[in-house]
Structures are given as C-alpha cells and as structure tokens.
Amino acid sequence: MTTHQWKHKDLCALADHTPDELITILDTAKAFKGVGERNLKKVPALRGKTLVNFFIEPSTRTRISFELAAMRLSADVINISASASSLEKGETLLDTARNLEALRADLIVIRHQSAGSARFLADRLNASVINAGDGAHEHPTQGLLDAFTIREKLGYIKGVHVAIVGDILFSRVARSNIQLLTKLGAEVTLVGPSTLVPATFACLGVKLVHSIDEVLEEVDVINLLRIQYERQRKEYFPGLGEYTARFGLTKKRAERIKPECLIMHPGPMNRGIEIDSDVADGRGSVILDQVTNGLAVRMAVLYLCSGGAPFAPVTPSATDSLS
C-alpha cells in the first residue's frame, strides 16, 4: 500500500491537482473526521502554528469551519475581515498579506471577490495560502467536501452521475466540483438557463442541459446552487418565479428522483427558490452532512499544506477508492 505524497504548500484550485493528490486529501480527511467524533476533539498536529482567516468577502460557514478546523489541529487562529483591515485605508492586498506574513503567520486562508486572488498571494508569500473562495473561480474545500460526502454516502465517485443546478456561470463551487468530480471519473451534467450555463462550459468535459426535468430520473446526486440574484444583473433570467418554475427542485419534482439520490446544497439556501423547504429537510438531503464533512476536509487541507504526512488511505489503494 502506498500513499501519494502531498508536496504543495498551497491549495488554490483543484484544477491544479492530480487525481492522486485529490484522493490523498479525501483519504486524509476521512482519518480526521474521527477526531470530531471523539469527546476530546483536538489533535496537536498544528500546535505552534498560526493561521490567519483573511476574509475580504463576507462568509459565515466557511470562515467558522476553517477556524474550527484549525483549532481542532491546535493552531492559533486570527480572523480578519476587510472592514477591520487596512484594506479599508487603501492598502493593497499584497501589502496587507505581507504584513500578516511578517507577523509569522504560517497559513493564510483567503476569501476574496477577485478570481485568482489566492494564486496571486500564493505566488508571492512563503506562508501557505488556502483558497476559501476567489470570485467565480474556485472554492476548493467546498468541492472536496462535496466529493467527500458523495464518496461517504454512495461509497464511490467513479461513474456517479452528478447534476449541478443553477447559477453555474458565477459559481466557484460549480467550477471546483466540475474539476474534482470529472478528474475522479464522475459524470457531470450542468443544469440551468442557457445564460447561466453557457456553451463554453462544455470545454470542461461536462454535459449541458437547460431543463431540470431532463435529468431528474437519471442522476445520483443533485447539487443545487444558490441563485445569487443580488450579484446578477437582471438580463440573465426573467425573474425568481420563472427560475423556480423551470429549475427549482420542488416537492413534486423530488418525487421523480431515484430513491438513493443525494440532494446537496453548499448553502446558504434560498428556501422556496432553488429548493423547496420540504426537500431541503427531507429524505436524501445531505446538506448538513456537507457542513460536518467540511470540517474534516479543511483539517486535512491545513494539515497537508503545513507539511503533514498524508495518512494511509483507508481504502486499499487510490485507484480502488475511485470505484
């Protein structure tokens, strides 16, 4: 049994990593998930390390999840928001980050509204940079926790048919999911209005469908994305009512999906818009499991990027773990 080595100081985009590396993270996360199930939910893996949660864009669950993940690894954690930083005074992102590094931050978790911002810092800092969402580019730990959840619930990823529904164009979650799932052998179908699922996405090796009704019966996972109506100009679709009528996972539509189909959502949910409340809380919903698994995945990422040795795969080999 061999364990793939993790040689990266940063995690900026899942597009940068090989299937073996991605499996390494998932395997390591599986080992870390046990930590959260103990009475004493803490290990010393990052004792003496300092993590800065540098959230330029607002976030609740991701920031808290990273914070808790770091604490469970015994790291010291500092949280910084844009309004509480010198960015408000006109300081550049790079200068602010360099100051954090000068204070001996070992890990910087960044969320930023600009695509590429994590890579921008990672290329210029010695500290490990973890992307917690950069514009519409990627949200790697969300992609990992989604894959982790699918693997945990269904037992495999290779061959699973995943529908990602909604605002694909502006979604970093979708891009990370597409990268990871296609690399691990899943079949991915993007569903949404043609304005939010433009034809260029076909270059990512996915199928494009412009009606949710076309895929309901055949998919193993439905991942519903939040309609970011506040970020979109109105030309992308006529209105929320029409969106729900065409693409919402209503209770009636949910009756048509396979019994074992997983219903996922990265949150925060717009109940009654992309998903009916009954469906969000009903059978097949793994939305809260995703939150729990996010903690394990982020522990694994922080641990590996700090130079921690990957844990031996729980499954016999990386290849077997795909199927």
Binding site: T92, A115, G116, R119, F120, R172, P198, T200
Partner: protein, 435 residues
C-alpha cells in the same frame, strides 16, 4: 556631431518607392540626399556607418502609443517613452489623448508638443480627443485641435458609445481633414470583462469581454465611414470576425482602415491561466482562430498598419488582484522583433519589405506625415536593423519607467541596431543613447 551621414553597403528597403537594393545612403543637414560633396566624403567628413549585411529602412512609425504625460509621469514620461521608441527602432510616434488632463484642448496639445520638442529624442505627434474628457457625450473642440496640430482624433482607451455623437464627430472631423481612430468596444457587451470571453474565462471564472463587443463597433464604424465618406481607423483589432467585416467593407471601397498589435498575434487567452496581470490588455488576448484571421488580414491587405499600443503601468499598479489591475503592456521595444518573429520567420506571411511598409509608409500616408520614406529630400529618419538578430527580452533593460511586459524572457529574432532621427544617430544597440 557631423551634419552628414554616409550609410554604407546596406540593404536599402524603401517601400514607399518600391526600392530594395544594396547600396549607400547619404544624409546632409537632416535631409536625405543623393550624394555628399566630395569634401564631405571619407572619414574626415561625414560620419560613416557600415551597414553591410544589415537593412536600412525608413524610420519606423508607431501611430498608437501612450506616454502618460501629462498626469501619470510615474508610469512614463514623453522623454522615457521616446527613448523606448528609439531603442525599438521607431523614429516617429503618435500619442494617445487619454492623459490627465485629457488631450481635448489646444492648451494641453501645446503642452505636450513643447514637452516633446524639449525632451523627446524621436518625433512625437499628438492625437486629440473626439469627445470632451473622453466622456463620449460632447464633441471636443475639433477645429481648435486641428489648428493646434493634432494628426487624428480618438477617444482611445474608451469608445464613443453614442452613435449619434460619433456620427456628428466624424462629419465634423471631415471638414478639418482629420482622420478618426476608434477603440472598438461596445461597453454593454464587454461590461466588466477583463479577458476574452471563452474557454479560459470559463475556466478561470473571470468576467469575459466578448469579441462581439468589438465586432459590433467595427460594423458601426464601417457604416459611419461609408455614410460620411470619411476615414475611420479601427485600432488594435483583436477578433477574427472584425477582420472579416473589415475585409468585406474594404473590398467595397469603404474608407475604413485597421491596425494590429504584436500581442494580439503572439499570445492567446490561455496565457492568463496563472492570472498574470502582464497579460491583461484591452482589447484582450483572444484565441488561435482570432490570431490566424488577423494574420490573414495582415497578409491580404485588410489590415494595413502595425502598431504597439505601448501602455506602461507601474509595477505596484499591476501587482494587484487580476480584475483590479489596469489594462495594457509595454510595446515599443519588442514590437519590431515580434512582428518579424511571427510574420516573417514563423508564419512567412509577409516579406520584409511588406512588413516595413506597414511600419513606415502606410502609417505615414494614413496620417499625412511627411515621413516614412527614404526619398531624396525627405527628413532623414532612418532605422538600421537586422531581421535575424537573435536576442532575449529582458524587462530590466527597458528604457521605460515601467516593467509591464509579458515577453520578459522570450527569445526573438530581429532587432533595430541604429535609430537615426533628423539625420542624427539617437541610439544604437552597441553604445546606447546619444543624448
């Protein structure tokens, strides 16, 4: 310094006169002459430049540069921009009006002209804005700008969105014989776009600037040029469909012209994969299909002028998040080499005389400059170059105040060796600038 020059034994290429021969070229008092008086020949008289094995061309002309003065002299000054031009083999440049203040008044034009006269080592001509403050709403004082000596009008950096304003400006400019140049970008379509809309914007999650936004304005300009009968020049063409629109219009005799920049035929949008802001420019880098069509357009005469869109930005301004970085790259010092490398060596799309024609006589004719030729009696603006000279771009050797080039480390073939302005050597590769 000698008032006379004797350039010996070079391959003289003068596209304006259809000349391509080995021979000597003589200069006296800043003018090209047929021969020198006997007492000025030899080493005691004229300065002798041995051009054996080299090419002697009319001084290169770039009709699209940004020198940042007035207002942003931390990026570039007219003096440093001119040195970039000289080091790139350019003897004449045409400055864009998006300075601060905008070059939309005779006073600003006069300031630039005085600054150029006192500090620039090459000829610097000005364009004036089409609209006040480049706002696209009210015409700039076009008659006064013409009287002040601008050679064309453009809102470059921006595009006049209001078709009515553009139509009236073109009609009005016609009266003064001023060509109109346009940065073709329909802004409701390009919106917040920071790179080409396509596969790579999809992968990177960056807002796309579709080529459709350029095509639409190119089509608008074709119609306006046809309607008014007045020349409109489409700047820095980046898309295949724009080239096809221009080709068809030119075949019909519409007075529409276009230029291409080196980066738009050297690089695709895939270069942005690491979010390097040195690849961020407007219009953006596009696809290989666009490159192929632009080169086809250069080959078949659809595009008649080559230019750099030299756009310096300070390092600290570029070293920010991708969507916050300004558009633009340095161009003058790598322009000739890139055109030679791609059009002559790699693609064999044009002959050397054809390429030099697009950098000399074509821009001179378009803007009615009394340059771009080695005719007897013409101003002695001369570039001596070696189309095979192999070199590696080093941004730290640039004469610019900025360093924003995506070509740092690129190996290229072709380089200017000596730049002569008004009969005086202002720069040569071996000894540098002669201040």
């Amino acid at each position: 310094m000698n008032a006379s020059l004797h350039i010996k034994g070079g391959r003289i290429i003068d596209p304006a006169n259809g000349i391509d021969r080995i021979g000597d070229l003589f200069v006296r008092d800043g003018i090209i002459v047929d021969s020198l008086p006997k007492n000025e020949k030899g080493e005691r008289g004229a300065e002798v430049i041995d051009a054996t094995g080299k090419v002697v061309s009319p001084g290169l002309i770039d009709i699209h540069v940004h020198f940042r003065e007035p207002g942003q002299s931390h990026k570039e000054t007219i003096a440093t921009g001119a040195r970039c031009a000289a080091a790139g083999g350019f003897t004449t440049v045409v400055c864009m009006p998006n300075t601060s203040p905008v070059a939309d008044s005779p006073a600003t034009i006069a300031w630039i002209q005085e600054r150029a006269a006192s500090t620039a080592c090459v000829n610097v001509f000005c364009t004036g804005a089409i609209t006040k403050g480049l706002a696209g709403e009210e015409m700039a004082p076009i008659g006064a700008l013409a009287a002040a000596g601008v050679v064309a009008l453009t809102d470059d950096g921006r595009c006049v969105q209001n078709h009515g304003v553009m139509r009236r400006a073109v009609e009005y400019a016609r009266h003064y014989g001023l060509p109109v140049m346009d940065h073709c970008q329909e802004t409701t379509l390009s919106a917040d776009g920071v790179m080409n809309e396509g596969e790579w914007s999809t992968r990177l999650g960056l807002p796309g600037w579709p080529s459709l936004a350029e095509d639409l304005i190119v089509a608008r300009n074709i119609l306006l040029a046809e309607e008014t009968g007045h020349p409109i020049h489409c700047q820095h063409i980046s898309s295949a469909r724009s080239v096809r629109l221009l080709r068809e219009a030119r075949q019909r005799g519409v007075p529409i012209t276009a230029e291409a920049c080196p980066h738009h035929i050297a690089l695709t949008d895939g270069e942005l994969k690491n979010f390097d802001t040195n690849f961020k420019m407007n219009p953006p880098l596009r696809t290989q299909a666009d490159i192929d069509e632009i080169i086809a357009g250069i080959s078949d005469g659809t595009i008649t002028i080559l230019a750099s869109d030299h756009a310096p930005h300070a390092t600290y301004e570029k070293e920010v998040e991708f969507d916050r970085a300004p558009f633009g790259i340095l161009g003058l010092e790598t322009e000739l080499a890139l055109f030679l490398e791609i059009l002559l060596h790699q693609r064999k799309a044009l002959t050397l005389p054809q390429i030099l024609g697009m950098l000399t006589v074509n821009p001179a004719k378009f803007l009615r400059l009394d340059r771009g030729t080695l005719s007897t009696g013409a101003p002695a603006d001369i570039t001596i170059l070696d189309p095979d000279h192999a070199w590696t771009v080093d941004k730290n050797e640039s004469s610019s105040l900025s360093r924003n080039t995506p070509f740092h480390g690129h190996s290229l073939r072709g380089r200017a060796l000596t730049t002569i302005v008004g009969g005086k050597v202002v720069w040569d590769l071996e000894s540098g600038f002669r201040s």
